[in-house]
């Protein structure tokens, strides 16, 4: 596979009152050109920190990405760039969309100005040319009445519209990589369906790679090519979307898939649950980080942390009992 993004041994830590905690602990993955990688997991598993690390937006005051980590985008190691070089990459070769469209937009500028700014900074366009280009982006993300919306402020738009504006900003320079952190979570289902379809269409026309972060397995099934499942800062399972859904091989993935009520589950029949809750990063269990909640756990799980091992082909799982979990 010709990978656009190659992440090697990414490790991100924060200094807190409880000492240094490692939110992302040595993860490896790659994203192919024009492909969508979904990162799934519950709150606190490190998925947002992974996204911020890719953008190098970890606050320097108390956070750091370890020196042994590598984030290679199209041949360039982003972690070796100077601050100015990195700033030039953001918005031009990497775009990002956030969960909360209201807080990600500046309330005192019109949405048109905010999109035009991207063109003025990265493409060095003049004001009128940038405005023209921004209007084109509004049309591309299918905002109704774009000429009128151009001069409106963020508070005048609905949540779905604001998310379209963010997508327009993120894709203005046709970046090679788009990072989307729960972009559809705050939206209603009908609007979510519109936004997902829009992202998919734009991805096809621009051949953009997408790293899509979500906790919603329905959304994963809808858009992903490849999937990473994270738990307590580590990858517990990775593979293609079909491998993950057809043959979940880590107890956590299996638990997640079986605990959501779906349109085919039997009403009111007790749902499978994952006992307990996500451990605190300051106080992680020994051995396999999932062992306290795992129905398959044995003695070895308390002592030895399992490594990611192949289940079949590109499908990897980090469990001492992968074979028993995945079945024949």
């Amino acid at each position: 596979m010709d990978a656009l993004l190659q992440v090697e041994n990414l490790k991100t830590s924060f200094v807190t009152d409880d000492g240094e905690i490692t939110a992302v602990d040595g993860i490896n993955f790659s994203v192919g050109r024009g492909k969508t990688l979904c990162i799934v997991g519950e709150s606190g598993c490190g998925k947002s920190v992974t996204a911020l690390s890719l953008m190098r937006l970890i606050p320097g005051a108390n956070g750091r990405i370890h020196d042994t980590s590598k984030i290679i985008l199209d041949g360039t190691d982003l972690l070796s760039l100077t601050v100015d070089q990195m700033r030039a990459q953001r918005g031009s070769s990497i775009g990002m969309i956030f969960q909360e469209p209201m807080t990600a937009l500046n309330p005192v500028f019109t949405v048109g100005e905010q999109i035009a700014e991207v063109f003025r900074i990265h493409k060095k366009m003049g004001r009128s040319q940038a405005n023209e280009a921004a209007l084109g982006m509004l049309k591309k993300v299918r905002i109704p009445a774009p000429e009128q919306r151009f001069d409106e402020y963020p508070h005048q738009l609905s949540g779905g519209m604001k998310q379209r504006i963010l997508i327009a900003m993120a894709l203005a320079c046709e970046p090679k990589l788009l990072i989307a952190d729960e972009p559809s979570t705050a939206l209603d289902v009908t609007v979510q369906a519109q936004i997902l379809r829009l992202m998919k269409n734009l991805q096809e026309s621009m051949n953009t790679s997408i790293v899509f972060i979500t906790h919603d397995l329905g959304v994963v099934a809808e858009i992903a090519d490849d999937v990473i499942v994270m738990y307590a800062g580590r990858i517990v399972e990775q593979g293609s979307v079909f491998e993950i859904f057809d043959r979940p091989s880590h107890p956590y993935t299996k638990g997640l898939l079986h605990s959501i009520p779906s349109l085919t589950s039997v009403p009111k029949k007790p749902l499978n649950t994952i006992q307990g809750m996500v451990p605190s990063l300051a106080n992680l269990p020994s051995g396999c980080r999932f062992h306290e909640r795992c129905p398959w756990a044995k003695e070895i799980c308390k002592q030895k942390a399992p490594q990611l091992e192949p289940v079949s082909g590109s499908h990897l799982s980090a469990c001492h009992f992968t074979k028993e979990v995945s079945g024949p």
Binding site: S43, G159, T190, G218, A221, F245, I260, I274, M277
Partner: protein, 325 residues
């Protein structure tokens, strides 16, 4: 259906919009308009719809947190608009609510013992001495350790707080519990724990639920009958299986179709809606859905369709062309 526990008759709730120096009324937000429905004891009614459709306002109106602008609500044979003191107390005991945000709905300055002891104290059930036993019993019922009663809300996780919220709601063995997005703020693995608990408690205590959610899969799991709301109106009411097998209102169909299914082989054939929900301060004329409906004809712009039973089914649908589309 024998004697319904709860009856809503043409209930509307409109909020005034005021403006100018004199705070004159310059318009109104029509949050809920002309909702009629009945609920039998032991049943779970799901209310589903997108943000701004009025489902939370309806839930709060049922709980008497809002007074309806028009229409009447009867609970357990008592008419809300003409209650004597004794009936008011009875309604306070028998009508409870579980809120969405487990962080905002518990008083941070009270230990769990006080939060859960308050309902008993207010209704003079048992003496102060019994309180600890009562609270311990409740905590066990919702799957928490009795020792938790000495701790404060901030010491618990979101899922545990939601259990405390549930314990508070069921403390006095109410007849009806309104759950307003009770599991929406929780992580997937915790959500299933809380859903299991709600189903289990319903069996044990013979509770009736009004379950409000935007999540169609959760609604399908827990509800017996479902009301679909759009912009303040109920557009369809049906039992669970009929609604999911054969949604008859174009909005119900679009809503069900836009739900992402956790199966990568079923990606195609989505029916997506265009546009956004119009503002409830200025709803479209006629059928409120006509601006987004692909079947809309002239009549939809001028005449509001009534919620009518469909022959041969037990579905009620508010659409001029129900059954033909």
């Amino acid at each position: 259906m024998n004697q319904p526990l709860l009856t809503l008759d043409k209930v509307s709730k409109h909020f005034p919009i005021t403006g100018g120096v004199m705070r004159r009324r310059i318009g109104e937000v029509q949050a809920v308009t002309d909702v009629s429905l009945q609920l039998a004891a032991g049943e779970t009614l799901g209310i589903v719809g997108e943000s701004g459709c009025g489902k939370s306002t309806l839930g709060r109106t049922i709980c008497r947190l809002y007074e309806p602008s028009s229409g009447s609500i009867t609970f357990d044979g008592m008419l809300f608009s003409s209650l004597n003191k004794e009936q008011t107390t009875s309604i306070h005991r028998n009508l409870q609510m579980i809120f969405q945000d487990p962080y905002a709905s518990l008083n941070p300055r009270m230990p769990v013992l006080e939060i859960l002891g308050e309902p008993f104290a207010l209704h003079n059930i048992g003496t102060a001495k019994d309180r600890k036993d009562q609270v311990a019993e409740l905590l066990k019922l919702v799957g928490m350790r009795p020792e938790s009663m000495f701790r404060f809300p901030h010491e618990f996780s979101g899922g545990q707080r939601q259990r405390i919220g549930i314990a508070r709601a069921i403390a006095l063995k109410p007849k009806l519990v309104v759950c307003d997005e009770a599991v929406s703020a929780l992580d997937v693995s915790i959500q299933s724990q809380v859903l299991n608990l709600l189903v289990e408690l319903q069996k044990q205590l013979n509770l009736t639920y009004v379950f409000i959610s935007h999540d169609l899969a959760v609604i399908r799991y827990i509800a017996d009958r479902i009301a679909v709301m759009y912009l303040g109106n109920v557009v369809e009411i049906a039992d669970r299986d009929s609604l999911y097998r054969n949604p008859m209102h174009p909005y119900s169909r679009a809503l069900l179709s836009s739900l992402p299914v956790p199966d990568p082989r079923r990606r195609h054939g989505r029916e997506t809606l265009e546009g956004d929900v119009p503002s409830p301060a200025n709803p479209p004329s006629g059928c409120r859905f006509h601006t987004r409906c692909k079947f809309a004809k002239d009549i939809c712009k001028s005449k509001t369709p009534a919620l009518a039973p469909m022959s041969g089914t037990n579905q009620m649908v508010a659409c001029h062309f129900a059954g033909t589309i």
